[in-house]
Symmetry: C2
Subunit: 236 residues, 2 copies
């Protein structure tokens, strides 16, 4: 039976980390909320799953259904799919280290989100822009170099772990997102992380990922997602 | 061989979620940074592990060493220990759902941290107090009721999953932390979450947890940790 992914239909957002794993696995899946409303799609499909999941319910999308199992939390879904589709090595230490790196990606993504929403997710960006300018400065000057420098040092070979894994896919997505949101800061910081840049290019060239990126299934970055291009938040 | 935990020695912080699992498991462990400096303790012990771990290195503490394996990220360490000590049921769906709930706890904890550091982790609280007051308002009025209401609805029985698990320990810690940091808001919000309050009391009464809480191993909450009591951030 096909996996069912539930995520906001007009943004990459956190769902994109899941989509990349599904695409690299060539898994059979339905991106439910992107179906026409007449076919059960749209945001109401997500709200139904949030409200009506029996047992352990999700707090927020992305949400994956695999038969009778409904699971949530991006890093949790990615690890689950990776185990099913050999996108992580089949030993405990590798799984634990993959999850460790993925949760560090998760922390980085949360910090990116807070560059444009430092005060409240309930306020518009325009109503917290001054605070965003300050938060983004610290992110660009301290946090982004710290995170990317860390991942650069973890690249011993052609990937983060001893084999290609879902963490490489997520890091590719982070690189694309940072480049979109902070083009000037990204160019500056990645001068120091050549192995990371090369990793991103290798992932983009993987046949299934290249086909996905060229397809209409890949939503363009935009200013409703996590990675948003607001020039005032980038290097001056 | 004893586990080695590396975490800041003067705060509960994220390390406390790990300490609670180790204590409930009655595991043999050394809280390395709390040893005297002459015995290899103190913050330098943590910095050494960050710098000198071969293979996949941690980005930040808490860090656990189990023989040759060094792992990091709070939720990852908790899940690892829980599998070793039967603090999560031994089936895949239970592990996936435990991790899902634990990562939702992780998100909540990150939002609590940002109530006192909304602009930058590199600035003192006093230098971002105005932004903190605004962020904390949204946290108390929207996010805290949303998270605690969610966990209340997940409590079908005496615990979050079908058996007692490490997630119950983490939720206990969140409840204690929120009560410390936001006593007035906590009293208001938990009037609507009686099952959650009862869960916290049951966890505190577990013999090993009760013994731990009464011991000098339990560090008191303070204003260097994640849960900080700043009256101006609580309900007026």
């Amino acid at each position: 039976m096909a996996y069912q992914l539930y995520y906001w239909p007009t943004i990459q957002g956190r769902g994109e980390f899941v989509r990349l794993v599904l695409e690299e696995a060539a898994a059979d899946y339905v991106d439910v909320a992107r179906l026409p409303a007449a076919d059960g799609g749209g945001a109401p499909a997500i709200l139904r799953v949030l409200r009506e999941t029996p047992g352990v319910a999700p707090f927020a999308p992305p949400i994956l259904r695999d038969g009778a199992l409904t699971l949530a939390q991006t890093a949790n879904i990615c690890a689950y799919l990776a185990e099913n589709h050999a996108l992580v090595a089949d030993d405990r230490a590798a799984r634990v280290h993959a999850n460790q790196l993925q949760l560090t990606v998760t922390d980085l993504v949360a910090e990116v989100h807070d560059t444009h929403h430092p005060l409240s997710t309930g306020l518009y960006y325009e109503d917290q822009r001054a605070a965003a300018v300050e938060r983004a400065k610290g992110f660009r000057e301290e946090r982004m170099p710290k995170y990317l420098g860390y991942f650069e040092r973890q690249l011993h070979d052609d990937h983060l772990l001893s084999t290609f894994s879902y963490v490489d896919l997520s890091l590719f997505q982070v690189l694309r997102g940072l480049e979109y949101a902070f083009p000037r800061a990204f160019a500056r910081v990645t001068r120091e992380t050549p192995k990371l840049v090369a990793l991103g290019e290798r992932v983009a060239a993987r046949p299934r990922i290249a086909a996905y990126l060229a397809s209409p299934r890949r939503i363009a970055f935009n200013e409703q997602g996590i990675f948003r291009r607001y020039p005032e938040l980038d290097d001056g």
